[in-house]
Symmetry: C2
Subunit: 330 residues, 2 copies
């Protein structure tokens, strides 16, 4: 831990992505919902992988990607998540540390292998995720580094953590430790299906435990079963201190107490793969926030980081993000 | 095996590449010779990996890449090589099969893990390879599928196979089986340091066992300890039926019996990563050859395939090679 503590400690699923291009017809034939994250078990993962094209493997995981983005901007981030003691686990650990993110959660010595996510990128640059949670199901409250959480300005939790059962306990413990130390808790809603699976609990969380909320248009609409974005926006107002609602090429809306800021999307070149857009938005936003920037600027930094990551394959930044922000934002 | 046999059976090291960008200063500080392939042992691999940036993992291996290129063009290729029964081995097997290449060599159930190659890509797009041979050292003559070799028009061997000791026996056995069936044997010299390690043996091979030779300018010059490319060219003339000598942006020279063809390089856009250029040249050339094309056209197809692979990270083609050839060559 840095002497003055981390800016952000993130807790999430530790996942290695296997990325391949795929046709829409393939997804339809396999019954995989396009654009969403579907949980799959090990036999289904083997079956789908056998039909998948040649892949690229790269470390992923939503909150982990956010921390890599934050570190790329110069922020101090740590990640808590569970890999197994296997080759993919070693790759995950190497990559996140090599990106400058602290990662000290011990690997599981038995149980399922390191999680992998089959990422199908269709010609329209959309990504469809099929996740085998593997060792992520081994994460529990005993893995929460309380000292790091107490020292961090923000503890960031991904909604996906609500899927593996014991991870939820880790999540709750981390939120309590953070608040007990007068720190803030941020949550990403992660995915519309994830919101459907856990709607009631997520609503309670937002009302009682979350200071900073990240959600895209579909997720926030699902949370409040709203018909329009504006209806969802009105529903979330006042429920948490800060909410950043992203809308792809329509930009984002940031609610900061009574203030409402509308931030345009950063013009992107050719969009190659939207994997990681939300993750990098959150990483950029939290970087700005923990640097004391105003909420409009936080939204801008999030948008710039998201625009970078969709310009190439994979969910982690290739360009030096800090340079990009300096150049665009000053 | 396809009913009429494979066009090409390739034998090589089965390797997963770990690709990251690196500065020249890093290579100098680590004492790694830039642009070449260095063999490293497991402790050194751990040490170097710990200092390497975040990586992308993708299946590699020189002859394996060539077969993926050949299959991408519509050719029927098979690969013989040794992985371990581990996660990276499963990835290697999946990827090469998903690319349409036959691969049935059983995995090693004990011994070292699947081979990996740390690929450092410098800002000038050059690649520097550090290979931990791992399970490749387990390949032996018992792994040669004699029926496939007998049925294939060409058996293609990478020079790198001369490094793991028992693989050499596999190599010799395959060459004998191929010639016994009236088939042809092709060899790539692979790497200048590899030529230095095995110069005398490689010279004997070229004289006595090889019908089609692939080498780049540095490798062929090292083989005959020639001062100039022309000197190397004169030295190899008449020693094997067909020789394709590549010279990066200077194109290649194809010696076909008494004929000498000079083939220009295919104009490349931005060169991102030269990994796989030689492999894809050989794959494209052998595709043309086994389709009965003349030697000039074979060189052209090799050049087009090589130009594609250097336009992006990684050593396997991203674009549909067959479309590319049809478009450029007709």
């Amino acid at each position: 831990m840095p002497e003055s503590g981390y800016d952000v400690v993130a807790i999430g699923n530790a996942i290695v992505d296997v990325v391949a291009s795929a046709e829409e017809a393939f997804l339809a034939a396999e019954g995989v919902p396009k654009g969403a994250m579907t949980l799959i078990d090990a036999p289904r993962a083997e079956e789908l992988y056998a039909r998948m094209g040649p892949g690229l493997e790269m470390s992923g995981g939503s909150a982990a990607n956010s921390m890599v983005g934050l570190a790329g901007l110069g922020g101090r981030g740590a990640f808590i998540g569970k890999v197994s003691d296997d080759q993919l686990g070693a790759i995950f650990r190497h990559d996140i540390r090599a990106a400058g993110v602290g990662f000290d959660t011990p690997a599981a010595l038995k149980g399922p292998p390191t999680a992998r996510c089959l990422v199908f990128v269709t010609p329209d640059a959309q990504r469809t995720l099929c996740t085998m949670l593997g060792a992520c199901t081994e994460l529990g409250p005993e893995d929460i580094d309380e000292a790091a959480v107490r020292a961090a300005k923000v503890t960031y939790l991904e909604g996906y953590l609500w899927d593996p059962p014991r991870a939820k306990e880790a999540f709750v413990k981390a939120a309590e430790v953070a608040h007990g130390a007068g720190r803030e808790v941020a949550l990403s809603l992660s995915d519309p299906f994830c919101v459907e699976r856990h709607r009631a609990e997520f609503r309670d969380l937002v009302d009682g435990h979350v200071d900073i909320l990240f959600a895209n248009e579909v997720e926030i609409s699902s949370l409040y079963q709203a018909e329009t974005f504006d209806e969802a926006l009105q529903a979330v107002r006042g429920r948490c201190r800060l909410a950043a609602l992203t809308r792809s090429e329509k930009g984002c809306v940031v609610l900061d107490g009574d203030e409402v800021h509308v931030v345009d999307a950063e013009p992107a070149g050719r969009v190659v793969d939207t994997t990681g857009a939300g993750d990098l938005f959150a990483g950029g936003f939290l970087y700005g926030y923990t640097q004391g920037r105003g909420s409009y600027d936080c939204g801008r930094i999030g948008a710039i980081a998201a625009a970078e990551v969709i310009s190439h394959y994979g969910a982690r930044p290739e360009k030096l993000l800090a340079d990009l922000i300096a150049q665009r934002l000053g």
